[in-house]
């Protein structure tokens, strides 16, 4: 193998090195374009609004301060905040963070439980109408959200579930077509001999699911959990329709409202960017801890 390639390598290497320089230049440029706005958020959130207007070009924080964070977190009284050049509104950050954690947490746990059950039935159990039902689920996977958005809103409203957590999670927690499809694909690939051996040892079908399939499926379940968490955490329109009330308001909705309350002429950029930065932290932390897994999870969705 190596012998046959050798003759071609000498002329090839020169061509690659020019391409490599261009390629690296493009990659580095893209990295800068990706990261520079994030730096600008950090820089702004540590600057006072007044200094921001005076020094718009300074790449470092101007008039370094923690007040924006204090204000967003409700630790600073209003008069001080107004004096600093902001609009003086607080963002009840901890409450919204708690709400986002509750909604995303329930969604991850619920989807994993219900989807793995359904996926196991579709992958391993024989029952009447199996393929027909699975086909319906695939259809559900392909229907865009806009079709069910309004009827689902009306349903939740008539259940009196507006401004409740169950209203926010209900439509996606029991039935998650992508999750079921994704896990079924994995379960189909699990070694059947292990299951047969367990059955010979007297394990029930439920025992096979609980003792064999689930323990073997920790990696894909983790992948799915991460994707579900990110998707739920980032969701905006549905929680906006269902959960505007403070008690269940999630971070994305809160930031949208915070933005619409900021004065048109002189927005409170320091405060807005502090809120922005704080709301990115959970996703970025997840990414720092599980970075490789997140990357693999995304790659996997493309070629499954």
């Amino acid at each position: 193998m190596t012998a046959t390639i050798l003759p071609a390598q000498a002329p090839k290497r020169r061509r690659i090195s020019i391409g490599a320089i261009l390629g690296w230049a493009a990659l580095i440029l893209m990295l800068i374009i990706t990261l520079l706005p994030l730096w600008w958020v950090i820089r702004t959130s540590f600057s006072t609004n007044r200094e921001l207007y005076a020094n718009p070009r300074n790449p470092l924080p101007v008039g370094f301060t923690f007040d924006n964070f204090a204000r967003v977190l409700g630790q600073l009284d209003t008069s001080k905040a107004v004096a600093a050049g902001g609009s003086g509104q607080a963002l009840n950050f901890w409450l919204y963070l708690r709400n986002s954690v509750i909604v995303s947490g329930i969604m991850v746990v619920g989807q994993l439980v219900f989807s793995s059950m359904a996926a196991y039935a579709f992958a391993r159990l024989r029952f009447p109408l199996r393929e027909q039902i699975f086909f319906l689920y695939i259809v559900a996977l392909m229907v865009p959200g806009v079709v069910t958005l309004i009827p689902n809103f009306i349903l939740i409203r008539s259940l009196n579930w507006l401004n409740t957590f169950q209203g926010i999670v209900a439509p996606s927690i029991l039935m998650a077509p992508f999750a079921i499809f994704f896990l079924r694909q994995f379960f189909l690939g699990v070694n059947r001999e292990l299951e047969e051996a367990a059955k010979l040892d007297g394990a029930s079908l439920f025992g096979v699911f609980w003792r064999i399939i689930l323990p073997l499926s920790v990696p894909p379940m983790a992948t799915l959990g991460i994707l579900t968490f990110i998707g739920t955490w980032n969701d905006y329109l549905w929680p906006l329709l269902i959960g505007k009330d403070e008690s269940v308001r999630v971070l994305t909705v809160a930031l949208g409202i915070f933005r619409s309350q900021t004065p048109q002429g002189a927005p409170d950029w320091g405060g807005l960017m502090a809120g922005t930065l704080l709301s990115i932290i959970p996703s970025v932390t997840l990414f720092l801890v599980l970075g490789r897994r997140v990357v693999n999870a995304i790659q996997f969705t493309g070629i499954k």
């Binding site: 003759p7 893209m30 600008w40 070009r57 029952f127 009827p151 079921i180 905006y236 995304i298």
Partner: protein
């Protein structure tokens, strides 16, 4: 999407003999118990709402009083609704601004990563914007594109370019929103394509190189055709997503300035949740669904998505 079709047909073969047998054992009972939660979810939040949506579109309903049946009046209104067709054109314009540039950039990035670095850090950093909520991305860019203080205008200022209004101008608002979403999605798309590139056996391009094919020829005649299944997946899903642009517009322009960014999803939202005209809003939603269906079918036909050259 193509895979799902194969799987359904493959699965059917094993299932037919067991059509009635299953009930005798506890197997079928356990199976139904296991799919019961998802079945309840499917019926309650997919099947019934889809049918109910159709029914609502035949009514005039403001949520407060009882719905009144008005037959096809909403569909008649739709056809004569200049605003609807304008929203449709605005959405198509956005998709055209978004998808081609995003896809080309993503392919370029993916190839560069594939050839130059296997670093998970680089991939992770490029995909970072995708982890950030749409709402936060929109806020971030609202600040970046601020006419007075925004970083982009400051950079343009260094090069002596006049300040641009970006989101404040009818002609620049839509390109700005497309740019924002390209920023958020390009790394993610590149990652999907990168994963596809890794499934292509190296010996094919090596053989071509030995035969004297140049880099460009290898890319266009070997790599790109072999990538087709992944590219179709990426194109179909990103175009469907692009047609449903909402979050960014809801945070930045709210359909303005002068209706320049009033896309179809925003139009649906206005009718449903500002004007509370549920009948017409669901009619609009179905129109969007129909358009998505047609666009997807055309794409799958055009790209012959179900055949892979690698087989």
């Amino acid at each position: 999407m193509t895979k799902s079709v194969e799987i359904v047909s493959a699965g059917r073969k094993q299932a037919l003999p067991s059509w009635l047998q299953g009930w005798r054992s506890g197997e079928a009972l356990l199976a139904w118990l296991f799919i019961l939660p998802s079945m309840i979810g499917f019926i309650t939040f997919y099947a019934v709402p889809a049918v109910r949506g159709v029914l609502i579109s035949f009514t005039d309903w403001d949520l407060l009083s009882e719905p009144t049946f008005i037959g096809l009046a909403n569909y008649e209104k739709l056809i004569n609704d200049e605003q609807f067709w304008k929203a449709l054109r605005t959405t198509a314009y956005y998709v055209l601004l978004n998808i081609p540039l995003q896809t080309v950039l993503a392919i370029g990035l993916a190839v560069a990563m594939h050839r130059l670095t296997k670093s998970a850090l680089v991939r992770g950093l490029l995909v970072l914007p995708w982890l950030i909520p749409n709402v936060v991305v929109a806020l971030l860019w609202l600040w970046m594109l601020d006419p007075q203080l925004g970083m982009i205008n400051q950079i343009l200022g260094v090069f002596g370019v006049q300040r641009l209004p970006f989101l404040g101008s009818p002609s620049q608002a839509m390109p700005s929103i497309a740019g924002i979403n390209i920023w958020r999605h390009v790394g993610y798309t590149a990652l999907l394509i990168f994963a596809g590139l890794q499934t292509i056996p190296i010996d094919i391009s090596e053989a071509a190189a030995i035969d004297g094919a140049g880099e460009g020829r290898i890319f266009f005649q070997i790599t790109l055709p072999l990538l087709r299944p992944v590219l179709v997946f990426v194109m179909v899903t990103s175009i469907i997503g692009s047609f449903q642009i909402f979050d960014t517009i809801a945070i930045t322009t709210k359909g303005g300035p002068v209706d320049a960014t009033r896309v179809i999803y925003w139009y649906v939202y206005e009718y449903a949740f500002s004007r509370f005209d549920m009948g017409y809003a669901t009619t609009l939603a179905f129109a969007l669904f129909l358009i998505l269906l047609i666009v997807t079918i055309i794409q799958l036909r055009y790209f012959q998505a179900d055949s892979s050259d690698l087989a």
